[in-house]
Amino acid sequence: MASQTRRARSRPARLLAAVTAVELGLAGLLTGVIFVAVLIQAFQRHLPFEGLTWTGELSRFALVWLTFLAAGVLVTRDGHIALQLVDTLKSERAVRGFHVLAHLLVAVIAGLFAWQCWSLIPSSSILTSPSLGMSMSLHYVLPLVGFVSTALRSAAAATVVAREGVPAAQESDALAIKVNREVQS
């Protein structure tokens, strides 16, 4: 039975891995952008040529984008910091129930924020950023992706936990630093 569910999950799992790779790849790249932009800013002041003025703005925007872009992956990897009082409950069913509920609530909240991003994309089009002159509509595209991903991943996690128990929905091992306690498997 176990091998059957594994085979049944392999396609979604592969899709998930691909999406994760794209999200993390982009977010990692944005971290690289911050690193390089701040380095440029640090060194150009000591060099004779005129400074680039957009480094500060670009790196601030990159921080916003990577933060929200990574929100979804953090769900799947149980990397969000949470209060784990319910994990100490004796009944496995109760723990499972709370986890399902928490995942569903996160899915709803993330869905609402995805809707907010969606509504901000057209309404921010008349604003441009002071230094890069970028349309502020673009500012909310990557956060939209992050919140949609969070909503979908949480909804999926809720289903998986409901069917197979708490640990099944997590790839905690994929996370270098685990913030949350591992649940007994």
């Binding site: 971290t31 990577l66 306690r181």
Partner: protein, 424 residues
């Protein structure tokens, strides 16, 4: 009324195990929509609070710590501390504190420290007859030096929120962080005198020299970072980037890092950064609701009727941080309370630098206490030890931390001496 409902909803969501960030985001959004604000405001607020220049130091200091971990700096520090202290009775306890102290100059958060150092040190200590509880207690409590000693992520956040100089706050944190190391060593000293079973590891000058050479270049990193800030070459944010570059070069030089490791390092940095920044962002949303409801002004007037005495005010702040720190993440507490406490501090003449050091230190104690204690969870999961055992091991070490808080409150000059000496 609506704000009370919002707080109630936050509490319920936190209890239901909804992640802290989302437990703030949901009710914050609910408040704004119920009170007739526009549909996009909540998202704009969380995005804006993240897009702050001082906060850029956070991913960069996390990158620095991650690079230092991958470059094997912790191992080098461990070997050196072991060579120095191995013969001393209870040496491994002091080694643990020494390694954390060394690493604290390169790391801004306790979580990375606890994860990186716990895995190496706790098994070593157990092998030499130290109890598991004690070992994990030493490692966990000395990991708290990292967020106090500069570079410090909570200090960066405080400086950004309170509009105080990051450089001055960094300088002011050095002595309290060193005092932490000394006080933790005193606890180790008292404990080992009652343990007949522990064994020592031996000592040779040759070892000391060999391992000492190996930490020479890594220990130059804090010189670059703090020297760069205080010497006027870089802003704190820039110093974090330059320090990361230096650590990257060291990693390549030591052949511990290859180009193909970089994606993994950047992804690790992303995950830690995002977890922290999401809480900063979501707490800022709740902070906006407080501002709209004039909560800071009301709290200030209540506080000022209770006391106008700076010392008593600091005692109340420390107590508040201790209590809040046990249940809410430290970053969230800072984002929510600094805008409220700063005006009061200014009003009654408390130095903002003293307030900052005290708040950071007293909040860090909460990292080791349930129910929300990030370091506690990290140690528990990396070492497969129940959370309760980690806490019982760490509890004795929390006493000196409280004493240091008292020292700061009673002798603020202790904190202000170094920044004043440096003219900050």
């Amino acid at each position: 009324m609506t704000v009370v409902l919002m707080l109630l909803a936050i509490a319920v969501l936190l209890f239901l195990r909804v992640p802290v960030a989302f437990a703030f985001l949901g009710p914050g959004l609910g408040y704004l929509l119920l009170t007739g604000h526009s549909g996009g405001l909540a998202m704009r607020l969380v995005a804006e609070s993240t897009a702050s220049f001082p906060l850029l130091a956070i991913p960069l200091f996390i990158l620095l710590g991650t690079l230092a971990g991958h470059a094997g700096i912790a191992d080098r520090l461990f070997d050196f501390a072991l060579a120095l202290m191995g013969k001393v009775r209870g040496g491994l306890g002091y080694v643990s504190i020494g390694v954390s102290l060394g690493f604290s100059w390169m790391s801004g958060s306790a979580v990375a420290d606890a994860a990186a150092l716990g895995k190496v040190q706790v098994p070593q200590m157990e092998k030499h007859g130290y109890s598991r509880r004690f070992s994990v207690g030493v490692v966990g409590s000395s990991a708290l030096i990292a967020p106090v000693m500069p570079p410090s992520i909570p200090a960066v956040i405080f400086a950004g929120l309170g509009a105080v100089s990051t450089g001055a706050l960094f300088a002011a944190s050095v002595l309290p962080a060193l005092l932490m190391a000394v006080c933790l060593a005193v606890v180790v000293f008292i404990w080992v005198r009652r343990q007949p079973d522990i064994t020592d590891v031996g000592f040779s000058w040759e070892q000391v020299l060999r391992t000492g050479r190996a930490v020479l270049l890594p220990l130059f990193a804090p010189v670059i970072i703090l020297g760069g800030i205080l010497g006027g070459f870089f802003t704190p944010t820039e110093a974090a980037a330059v320090g990361s570059l230096y650590m990257l070069i060291l990693g390549f030089a030591y052949r511990r890092l290859r180009l193909r490791d970089l994606p993994r390092i950047f992804v690790e940095t992303v995950m830690t950064t995002a977890a922290i920044m999401l809480i900063v962002a979501s707490a800022a949303l709740v902070g906006y609701v407080f501002a709209r409801e004039r909560v800071p002004q009301e709290l200030a007037s209540i506080m000022l009727t209770v006391t106008e005495d700076p010392t008593l005010f600091l005692v109340l702040v420390a107590l508040l941080m201790l209590v809040l720190g046990t249940v809410v993440d430290a970053v969230a507490v800072l984002v929510l309370t600094v805008p409220m406490l700063m005006p009061i501090a200014t009003e009654i003449g408390v130095d903002p630098i003293v307030l900052g050091v005290l708040m950071v230190l007293s909040l860090m104690i909460g990292l080791l206490t349930p129910p929300v204690g990030t370091v506690l969870y990290v140690l528990s999961s990396t070492l497969k030890i129940p959370v309760g055992d980690v806490f019982r091991g760490a509890a004795p070490f929390l006493i000196p931390m409280v004493i240091i808080c008292l020292v700061i409150i009673l002798f603020p000059g202790f904190v202000l001496w170094l920044p004043e000496l440096l003219g900050l």
